[in-house]
């Protein structure tokens, strides 16, 4: 009898719990948005920019009225450490947290496996920073990309070398990640097609601080231009400082991952005159200025390279959910494809494959800031 009573109470309790789940009112619903980026490890700087960009986007969106039917937007940050295994674990954790959308990841080598895990649950993923072409070329319906692609970045860089700087020989160094090596190989290929001689394409290891051996080779090869394809700005700064100290006089050129205010802060005068390819961000546009004020006010620091892209990715997702009135991935995807707006980073119009187009611009480091120098779309200097 007693056992029966316990069972009855247990069933009743369980029933109540189940009923509780069913009765959850839409008005109390919280929209859960995950972010994935390296919050620890050598790429934590860029990773935190991405987390912050999405968090601020959610705050700004709530202040602007939020989403009808949702009481709040919760951003759940996850650490990928730029490690494919940890990225998949982070994706699974976000699935357990029942997020409906994810902004991330940073490293292409994390985004690719994580997106496959998220795709199994039909969760929408918008990457603000992974530029490897493969990210959007696997036929995943819910994969979107707010930044540009490396197969646009590499030709843009090479076109600049040839047409603007008249470069005849280059030396390429990468640090062997899916992103950095992929891009370096793209540059090597485009350079050969353009008739630029690639003197050597060497690699360094992630986590290295000492590049003296490779730089001695660069100095001996004496190229017109030294192309640096590294995974982040901190290693980029190390490379630049050591190159100049070693007496490398070649033109220095980097890519989007070394484009970060920290590069200049650390390398100081040694970075002067260096070129970097990065998406064209119109810093005079009202949408950027608005983003800048809010970002600074809420985070207390300057936005990093990918803050604006992350902000836009999160905003795009929230706009799409608002327009769809639901988090159903099929409907949100349709709304994302319909979006056509000017964000903080650029004008965003997602294409069928999830890309949003590239608009690479060559920046030159002048007087301690990145100054737009040459536009790859128009082929003209600013």
């Amino acid at each position: 009898m007693k056992r029966l009573l316990v069972l009855a109470v247990a069933l009743a309790a369980l029933g109540l719990f189940l009923a509780g789940c069913g009765e959850e009112k839409k008005a109390d619903q919280v929209l859960k948005l995950g972010t994935m980026s390296p919050l620890t490890g050598p790429y934590a700087a860029d990773g935190n920019d991405i987390r912050q960009g999405a968090e601020i986007a959610a705050e700004v969106f709530m202040e602007a009225g939020g989403i009808p039917g949702y009481s709040n937007i919760e951003v759940i940050p996850q650490d990928t450490a730029c490690d494919p295994k940890q990225a998949v674990a982070a994706a699974n954790k976000l699935i357990n947290e029942k997020v409906t959308g994810v902004v991330g990841a940073y490293c292409s080598s994390s985004t690719i496996p994580a997106s496959e895990t998220l795709a199994e649950e039909n969760i929408i993923m918008l990457t603000p920073a992974s530029t490897n072409p493969k990210v959007t070329e696997r036929g995943l319906p819910y994969m979107f990309r707010t930044c540009g692609r490396d197969d646009h970045q590499a030709p843009a860089a090479v076109k600049f070398m040839k047409d603007v700087e008249g470069v005849k020989t280059i030396f390429i160094v990468d640090d062997k990640t899916t992103y950095s090596q992929g891009l370096a190989e793209g540059v090597a290929m485009a350079a050969k097609e353009a008739g630029i001689e690639v003197l050597e394409h060497d690699h360094v290891n992630q986590g290295d601080k000492d590049y003296s051996a490779v730089l001695t080779k660069v100095k001996a090869a004496n190229p017109d231009l030294f192309y640096i394809s590294l995974q982040n700005s901190a290693t980029g700064a190390l490379m630049v400082i050591q190159a100049r100290r070693m007496g490398v006089t070649a033109i220095l050129m980097g890519q989007d991952a070394v484009y970060h205010p920290k590069l200049i802060e650390i390398a100081k005068g040694d970075a002067e005159g260096m070129f970097c390819t990065f998406g064209a961000i119109d810093k005079d546009a009202p949408s950027y200025k608005e983003f800048l004020t809010k970002y600074k006010a809420k985070s207390g620091n300057e936005p990093g390279a990918y803050s604006a892209y992350s902000f836009d990715s999160a905003t795009a997702y929230l706009m799409a959910v608002k327009a769809a009135g639901t988090t159903d991935p099929v409907k949100v995807r349709d709304e994302l494809l319909k979006l056509d707006f000017t964000g903080a980073s650029k004008h965003i119009k997602y294409q069928e494959n999830g890309d949003s187009g590239s608009n690479y611009t060559v920046y030159k480091i002048q007087d301690g800031t990145f100054t737009p120098y040459w536009n790859s779309l128009t082929g003209e200097k600013y």
Binding site: L39, T40, G41, P42, A44, A45, G47, N48, V173, K176, D202, H203, V204, N205, G207, D208, K209, D210, Y211, S212, A213, V214, T216, K217, K219, A220, A234, A237, L238, I241, Q242, R245, M246, G247, K262, E265, I266, A267, K268
Partner: protein
Amino acid sequence: MDFEFFIQQLINGITLGGVYALIALGYTMVYGIIQLINFAHGEFFAAGGYMGVILISYLASQGLHPYACLAIALVLAMGYCALLAMAVEQLAYKPLRNASRLAALLSALGMSIFLQNGLMLTQGVYDKAYPTEITSGGFHWGLISVSYMQIFIVALTASLLVGLNVLVFKTRIGRAMRATAQDKVMSALVGINSNRIIAVTFAIGAGLAAAAGIMVGLYYGSVSYTMGFVPGIKAFAAAVLGGIGNITGAMIGGLIIGMVEIFAAGYISGEYKDVFAFIILIGVLYFKPTGIMGENVDDTRV
């Protein structure tokens, strides 16, 4: 041209090897005295680098001469890391002195993760820039260039190594250290406070790591909270290569690892430098399992 290339790589190798040697000394001293591989040692190196930049920036803002800043910061950061290491030893290793070696090893790994994340939380995830202006410049002969910083690193490494040798082989405390390394119980019977000696050993090792941290910061221009990990592993390999527990071995091991890395990167490819560094390590251990200088050469062990 080829000769100049070789000389330049040789200079690069000596500089890098010097840094590894300084870090390796801490590993080898601690191993020598309590047979513990102190995985947190790389973190002392990083903490020293951070303390250095904080002190140099502060002192420079007080209007001191750059070299005075550097000297004071070096001494203070070494002192700070020595205290930190003694605290770590008290907290994480002393209670496990009589536990299994594995327990102490895991405690060391945990301490390493704790310190690294502590640095991240207190100092932030961004790399901190070192004021490199003080030490910029150098000599150039054709293709060869030697920066003042390289000379400074090699000179400081050499003098610290000489100092350490004098300390261990010529002073009372050094004799006590060697005695404790040989037999803790026996040395305690003759009146040596082995706990104090162990703490001192940790302090000296961490002080040397802090010096290496500051030199790396000045040489490469920045420090980051993850900077301790890779050099820590390399220095550990250097200590094992030279014969763990042996001071001269750690110096030689450090120089060999540095040289092999640089020459592999210079003559083969940058991506193979770690491969060759560890091939050398495996090769030496295969034929001489106790390392180049050999472990447990009683008189020289610390």
